[in-house]
Amino acid sequence: MRVPLSWLREYVDLPAGETGRDVAARLVRAGLEVETVEQLGTDVKGPLVVGEVLSIEELTGFKKPIRHCFVNVGAANGTGEPQEIVCGATNFQVGDKVVVILPGGVLPGPFPISARQTYGHTSAGMICSARELGMGDDHNGIIVLPPEYEPGTDAIELLQLVDEVLDIAVTPDRGYCLSMRGVAREAAAAYGLPLADPALLDVPPANSYGYLVKVADPVGCDRFVARTVTGVDPGAKSPIWLQRRLQKAGIRPVSLAVDITNYVMLEVGQPLHAYDRNRVDGPIQVRRAVEGEELTTLDGVKRKLSAEDLLICDNSGPIGLAGVMGGASTEILDPVVDAETGLATGTTDIIVEAAHFEPVAIARTAKRHKLPSEASKRFERGVDPEAARAAAQRAVDLLVLIAGGTAEAGVTDIAAPHPVRTIPIDADLPDRVAGAEYGRETVTRRLQEVGCTVVGTDVLEVTPPSWRPDLTDPYDLAEEVIRLEGYDNVPARMPVTPPGRGLSEAQRFHRRVGVALAGAGYVEINAYPFVGDASFDALGLEADDARRRTVKLVNPLNDAEPALRTTLLPGLLGALRRNVGRGNTDLALFETGTVFLPKAEPKVAPRLPVDRRPTEEQLAELNAALPDQPRRVAVALTGERLPSGWWGKGAPSGWADAVEAARVVAAAAGVELTVRQAQYAPWHPGRCAELLVGEEVVGHAGELHPRVVKALHLPERTSAMELDLDLLFEDGRRVSGPPVSAYPVATQDVALIVDAAVHAADVEAALREGAGELLESLRLFDVFTGEQAGAGKKSLAYTLRFRATDRTLTADEASAAREAAVAVAAERTGAVLRGA
């Protein structure tokens, strides 16, 4: 809602020196969101005056029409002589009154005006258009003023160029502030000044000879006021003040009837509609549409109606979408001016509709037809049903005043009975909600300022005003009191919380994962979770891969990515590629986040009641409908993991780093990770590790498949890991402190030859088992293949450290343990001692 300060002052006698910023600050504290305060006209400098066109000479030989004119600007130019001006506009004739800026003046831009030679003539000034003056974006040529203004009159004041406009974003609960009347009420309360309510008008009572209206749906339409004005001059135009107020409020002046309905809507908040009475066929009816009915709206669009749409109809069928947009067939006609007589023909008899429609019906219709209009915006948020009569009266008065019509005596006013809404409120409720001490008198006074009727003492019986449909319960009223008393004045204090329990084990674990990976050199990213088929194709997932079953969005940002991720890899690899593209070549990235796994049989989540707690069964049904959303961690690496430098050669990142990252995470979880050779997309079939805790697969790691690397335009040998953190997490884990032996260690090395296909993990497991309790640690320190190992074989060399907790081991004991280890390895994996 754009509120010109000059207009606001018509209803509230604000202090003279009060600026737009001052008023904005007060309104902000009262809860209106004033987004900007616009300064109008500060960039226009006179002399800007009314001119009368004395002569027009059409210049020829130029690419566009050019007029050489003499204009009477009265005494404004100091000489009283006609002003010579060259003009590019053609929408005026001799005798017209126009707006002239004289040399020395400045137009917004800034464009300083001076006398100059152009098109072979002197041009001492400019005839101005509305846009050049910063009045609006209308560019239908220059402004032609009504004939009554004297040449030389100051046009800055005449056109009310200087003003301040408050742009207010109105929250859905404050529909009444979509009007000058509502904003003025807030301003009056904020300043403690009286309000001159523009809806307080003398209105003749309803009678039986108004235009015939039948309301078939009194729920959808609980108020319908119709008034008729006849004998209107079809050629009458909106006066400057009316046009200017509309322009400042952000509405383009169109024609007198439309301008007046818009003006009254801005003034009192009641949307109006004007019909050409001679185009309406019989009585007006208000009813719901029949499925399949059609209506061509004012914007020329033919619309298929739904049975829920509320309609205004006549004998011919629908003539308007109630509260949203009128129909084309009964629209006020554009006047046609007879070139000879100068007389205009067009609409002379007008029906003014001021009705009240049910907010939900209007909201749905506006949404369904994608027609958010100024009217629907107001109806959705609640219009004062009691303002309908005054609004219609105001429109009638303006039509009579400006267009010389006659108000018919008939007044149609159909009103469904409204129960009086009275809300009982404990007088101390505002105190209790705010934690402040207002007292009953203050509470009563503030509620009265809002427009409520208040009676009672300990319990107040409050009747909210008709323009506040949002006030429905005691807390709504408490809010009004606290807001008007000022949030700043509520004393701040701290609640006394019960003893805290800190972070949960799972939360601590999630933090540890991030800290551990960052400590291991990984940089965290947060990718969007949106994916599409192309994401999975690039990963080389089979058509029946479970990860292709996704949760889909109805309205994705990008139609190619309508689904939610089932793996973190697409986003993570995307970030990796983006980094590489920007010249960051040595990368180790990680992400933690949820993936979205649809239920085997997707269901609809129920819409539960809100007037009571849902039952456990209902909540269980609701939760069961949600997709599984486990938390994952993933890493991706490329380039050098250890850089080369003056200290020597570095090391490229590879599958082993990806597996090691999983171990880092497992260590943060405090669980033992088992690694097994596997084949799983998108990993390299020979370089993919399956990661297990016990017998449960918790993730995969390794080098990406070369095809995937190519499809995603990643650097060769890019590696990645993805793990399910939920599967890794184990609540209530507690480490028992191990005995630390002070006896000396006995170190034994073994070199084993195994088939190349045997996995080191299996050999190690066998050695550990065979070595028994004396084994303190085991380390693989060398692996090689080749001649020395034998064809199809590999050599694995281990250091075994033995130690007892209660004695120094003898050489024999250590050797026996070593032999036992080798024996089990031999039995399980066919390992043979090298050199044996």
Partner: protein, 373 residues
């Protein structure tokens, strides 16, 4: 050893003559002093203190002396050997110090050589910022709560007093999840706020409830410098007997002081959220210009766009209808709730000009934030 010889006179023994002993002593001292390095000193040591050195040989003669002569001879030799050993030890220390000094000079390196052996990682600043806020609340006795990102509409809207036709529901541009029949009527959305977590927390048990819930939320905005369709919120809720708007103010004041700093003014603007009543928007006095940029084109402020205030978030007293939907008796309990946008705080607190930097995952943006924010 030979038996004592009663007639044996040390002066008669050549090796025990005082002048001979003194000479041997002086020769030793001279040799040590002349030793240029530890090797030479070692040779001198063997020559002058070894088994075959003059003083050692002389010492052996003492045993053969008659008892009355032993003391004097012993003293003579003892003093000489003491002086020699002392000189040796002193020279040893000197030469070792010389050697060490030389070796350490030879071993000197350029310690300013860059060493990038272990690459550094970093956590995303939005993660660490969320943790910092969590910790502030945990210290106040709150628990950290979380919930699913694909959420039931009932929890994201209805239970929060946003019924199907509520105008505020269209204010939020929601991603709707596809139903099995392909329609939008799955009853599920990508949560537009972390508030459903509050409902879950309330449904989970009786008050008192003090919870903070950080998390990712979604709205259908296109990514640009100040918008992202996927962003983070932190919300907090307190439900207990006698909770007031004043408690909300006190709590936020503590948070702001911890997060941004002390001495900054807060502005409480009445606003509208369906799930709170009264509702407020909180503005923080700009901590960069402290309002000095307002109406002062010579001193523009990027942080607050010369408005003097920075929007912090929305808050209010929990609407009793929300308590009812969550099964909490509003006649006994009341609550407050508030929500903050983490991206906005990061932009303000750390001078991040473009929200895209938080989204794209460029390591050059994230690395400087390190492990903590």
């Amino acid at each position: 050893m030979s038996a004592p010889n009663k007639s044996y006179d040390p002066v008669e023994v050549e090796a025990l003559k005082p002048e001979v002993v003194e000479q041997a002593r002086d020769e030793a001292l001279a040799a040590f002093a002349a030793a240029a390095d530890l090797d030479e000193l070692k040779q001198a040591k063997v020559a002058h203190t070894g088994d075959r050195s003059p003083l050692s040989l002389a010492n052996r003669e003492i045993g053969a002396l008659p008892p009355q002569a032993k003391a004097a001879a012993g003293k003579l030799i003892g003093q000489a050997r003491g002086a020699v050993n002392q000189a040796l030890a002193k020279r040893q220390v000197e030469l070792e110090a010389e050697r060490d000094a030389r070796v350490l000079v030879e071993e000197a390196v350029d310690v300013t050589l860059p060493y990038g052996r272990v690459p550094r990682g970093a956590r995303h600043p939005l993660t660490t910022l969320a943790e910092r806020i969590e910790d502030t609340f945990v210290a106040m006795g709150y628990q950290v709560a979380s919930g699913p990102e694909v959420e039931a509409e009932w929890l994201n809207f209805d239970a929060l007093n946003l019924h199907a036709d509520h105008p505020a529901r269209s204010m939020q541009d929601t991603f709707f999840v596809e139903a099995p029949d392909g329609s939008a009527d799955s009853g599920m959305v990508l949560r537009t706020q972390t508030s459903p977590v509050q409902i879950r927390a309330m449904l989970a048990g009786e008050p008192p409830l003090y919870a903070v819930s950080p998390g990712r939320v979604y709205r259908t905005d296109e990514l640009d410098a100040t918008h992202t369709p996927v962003f983070r919120q932190v919300e907090a809720i307190a439900v207990d007997e006698g909770i007031t708007f004043g408690h909300l103010k006190g709590t936020i004041e503590v948070l702001v002081e911890k997060l941004i700093g002390g001495g900054l003014e807060l502005r409480w603007r009445p606003s509208y959220f369906p799930f709170t009543e009264p509702s407020a928007e909180i503005d923080l006095q700009c901590f960069v210009c402290r309002g000095a940029s307002v109406g002062n084109p010579d001193r523009p402020c990027r942080t607050c766009s010369s408005e003097g205030w920075i929007e912090l978030g929305g808050c209010g007293v929990v609407n009793p209808r929300v308590l009812v939907a969550a099964g909490i008796d509003p006649s006994r309990y009341s609550g407050f709730a508030f929500g903050l946008g983490l991206e906005r705080i990061l932009m303000n607190r750390h001078n991040v000009a473009d929200m895209r930097d938080m989204v794209e995952g460029d390591v050059r943006f994230t690395l400087p934030f390190g492990m903590e924010i």
